[in-house]
């Protein structure tokens, strides 16, 4: 678990070893000893990600020829200063990583790698395995120590701890490490077999001894292709709901890689998309009945539009996916069909510059995946308007409304609602708990109204004006209903405050869904929004206190 903190520790090499040992409760030392026992002496070793060089030095002292690389110059600097004081040591420290450090193919007996897997994205892990495969001699060994997700019961406490650490990491504004989720799937297809596994802490830390196998006798490592996922069953439907309910905040990644729609041949079209689970099901369902390759690149479990704007669906990810998935071995097709909305992240003119022989022609397909079949069939030179214009129609808006409502309850109203509940219990007003239900219901209705009636506010592009418009509308509609039900003056004041605020706030927050908002406009509006929002919150809070203290007539 501690591995999440690694990024922080790496900033201070001199205390790295000590602190890391504390974090892993000494397991890193045990892994080092395990590795030393496994390699004995007389081997030619490459250590990737050597850190402070503590393991590399020990391996060299045992009589091995060690080359140790790390991409962090500070670490190498520290390792060099700490160079062991012995004669005839064959130990070389170099700055580099597996993606850029050249080693003669088939030249090493052993490759060692401790606590680095969690820093690699899924495609990078595959690339790392292929690099190790190429560098190793026949029957060479790859020794890995890393943090894994335990299986069975111990998965649960692991996930809870991980979630807590992640929150902390986010607060400290650190880049977190990745969860090593699918690593074991890659081993056999790429060309490794597991010889020994040693586990610590119920399998949350493992040490692996892998042996290189030459599967297809062509002296090339294989490529991994993820298992197809059923996109029509009940489970997939549940996963779609999960994505809709948590859309605004959660990353929901599936394994990146090549998937197949139907039985694609060497000439079938290649559709590129994000590895957000919702996106995958949507694309696969829309493609049903068509033979095509579907390349899910690693957008970190984010949808195409957001990923493209946020540097998660760009040239780097596209090239990574093409190289790591081995798509060029599967097909002779030379055209990639990208989602139109990824154009905000991809740059076609830059692609050949980044990769010397970029083998593909890239075209942008339709804006919504439901037009993919038509696009593939007709391949229009100019897309008709319905295939390229972003709409925010009633279905999109309802989905956005649902996502936003769940977002409000999860991230904003969860604690206040519980606080109110406990307060009501403490002051002995159990018979008024229904009122909290009414507030929750009103939050839902407000969001529903905004999502249905959103086009009414098209008279302006400013979300603050839209917010005021819907706030006033909400006062009239919900306030009117509240007046009829409760018939109380103080209560009407609460309506004015709360309904206006919730509407104003929700409309502002809707900006991200409409697709038509520009970052410049919303960033210019935010400094105005913030103080007005805070003022409204204070007013709402005061009104709430008044209601609780004075118990207006008819309400109590």
């Amino acid at each position: 678990m501690a591995v999440v903190y690694m990024k922080k520790l790496e900033e201070e090499p001199d205390t790295y070893d000590e602190k890391f040992t504390t974090l892993t409760k000494g397991i890193n030392r045990e892994i080092q000893e395990w590795i030393l026992r496994k390699i004995k002496s007389g081997n030619s070793i490459l250590e990737i990600g050597c850190g402070t060089g503590s393991l590399a030095a020990k391996m060299a002292i045992l009589g091995n020829n060690v080359v140790a690389i790390d991409k962090n110059p500070q670490m190498i600097d520290f390792a060099m200063k700490d160079f062991p004081d012995e004669d005839n040591l064959q130990l070389l420290y170099q700055i580099g990583s597996f993606s850029d450090y050249f080693v003669t193919e088939g030249s090493k007996d052993v490759i060692v790698n401790t606590f680095m897997l969690s820093e690699l994205r899924p495609f990078e892990q595959q690339a790392f395995l292929r690099y190790a495969w190429k560098t190793l001699k026949q029957d060479g060994r790859l020794l890995i120590g890393a943090e894994f997700v335990p299986s069975g019961f111990w998965k649960l406490p692991f996930k809870i701890r991980r979630w807590r650490f992640k929150k902390k990491i986010r607060r400290l504004k650190l880049r977190s490490t990745h969860l090593v989720r699918w690593f074991f799937n890659y081993l056999n297809p790429i060309g490794f077999k597991i010889n020994t596994i040693k586990q610590w802490k119920h399998g949350s830390i493992k040490a692996l001894e892998l042996i290189k196998i030459n599967k297809n006798q062509n002296n090339e490592p294989g490529f991994y292709q993820p298992n197809p996922r059923n996109f029509r069953n009940f489970y997939s439907q549940l996963r779609i709901y999960r994505c809709i309910f948590t859309g605004q905040t959660d990353h929901v990644p599936i394994e990146p890689g090549i998937y197949q729609s139907g039985n694609p041949t060497k000439n079938s079209p290649i559709i590129v998309t994000a590895n957000y689970e919702f996106t995958y099901y949507k694309v696969m369902r829309d493609l049903e009945g068509i033979d095509a390759w579907v390349l899910c690149l690693d957008s970190d479990g984010i949808n195409v539009l957001c990923a493209a704007r946020g540097n998660n669906f760009g040239n780097a990810q596209l090239l990574e996916a093409i190289n790591a998935s081995g798509i060029t071995n599967l097909t002779e097709q030379k055209t990639l069909i990208l989602p139109q909305l990824s154009a905000g992240g991809i740059s076609i003119p830059e692609l050949p510059k980044k990769s010397q022989n970029f083998p593909f022609k890239v075209v942008y397909g339709p804006i919504w995946s439901k037009y993919l079949p038509e696009y593939i069939k007709d391949r229009p030179v100019r897309k008709p308007d319905y295939m390229k214009i972003a709409k925010f129609n009633i279905f999109h808006r309802i989905r956005a409304g649902i996502t936003h409502t769940t977002f409000l309850f999860r991230k904003i109203f969860l604690i206040p609602i519980f606080a109110l509940l406990i307060l009501f219990m403490l002051i002995g007003r159990l018979n008024q708990i229904w009122w909290i239900g009414e507030i929750s219901l009103n939050i839902i209705i407000t969001n529903f109204l905004i999502s249905i009636l959103f086009p009414l506010s098209n008279f302006t592009r400013k979300f603050i004006y839209k917010g005021i418009f819907f706030g006033l509308m909400n006062i009239i509609i919900l306030g009117g209903i509240g007046w009829i039900i409760h018939n109380s003056i103080i209560y009407i004041l609460w309506h004015l405050g709360f309904y206006f605020w919730i509407s104003y706030f929700s409309t502002m927050s809707f900006s991200g869904y409409s697709m038509a908002t520009s970052p410049r406009e919303i960033q210019a509006e935010y400094p105005v929004f913030r103080p007005t929002n805070l003022t409204l919150i204070v007013i709402v809070f005061v009104l709430l206190l008044i209601i609780i203290v004075f118990k207006p007539i008819n309400f109590i």
Partner: protein, 107 residues
């Protein structure tokens, strides 16, 4: 990963001056435009429209969301746009007010 956003055909300062001077978010340089129509095909709002002389022009630049799709894909680098980092969502704006390098964490 961040480098993709930084690159553009000109230096940011000269772009700043040009777009500010013209008081517009985006425009297509008529002399550079080859009329290939890619921008019109990828703009989610269909803003670039063909003109009489076979080139493309943006009639309603105020509707542009500065997504930079056309600019980064234009083969002739004919589109002048001062790209604003971030997406159009409120939470992104909130994070960026604290620190311009922050993101909304969903992208």
């Amino acid at each position: 990963m961040t480098e993709t956003n930084n690159k553009s055909c000109c230096t940011p300062t000269s772009m700043d001056n040009l777009t500010n001077f013209l008081n517009t978010k985006i425009f297509i340089s008529e002399s550079k435009c080859t009329g290939c129509g890619l921008c019109g095909d990828i703009c989610p709002f269909g803003l670039p429209q063909p003109t009489n002389n076979g080139k493309f022009d943006i009639k309603n630049p105020e509707l542009c969301t500065e997504c930079s799709a056309c600019q980064r894909n234009c083969p002739a680098q004919a589109i002048i746009l001062q790209e604003q980092k971030g997406c159009g969502c409120l939470w992104d704006a909130r994070q960026r007010l604290k620190n311009p390098n922050n993101t909304c964490n969903c992208g």
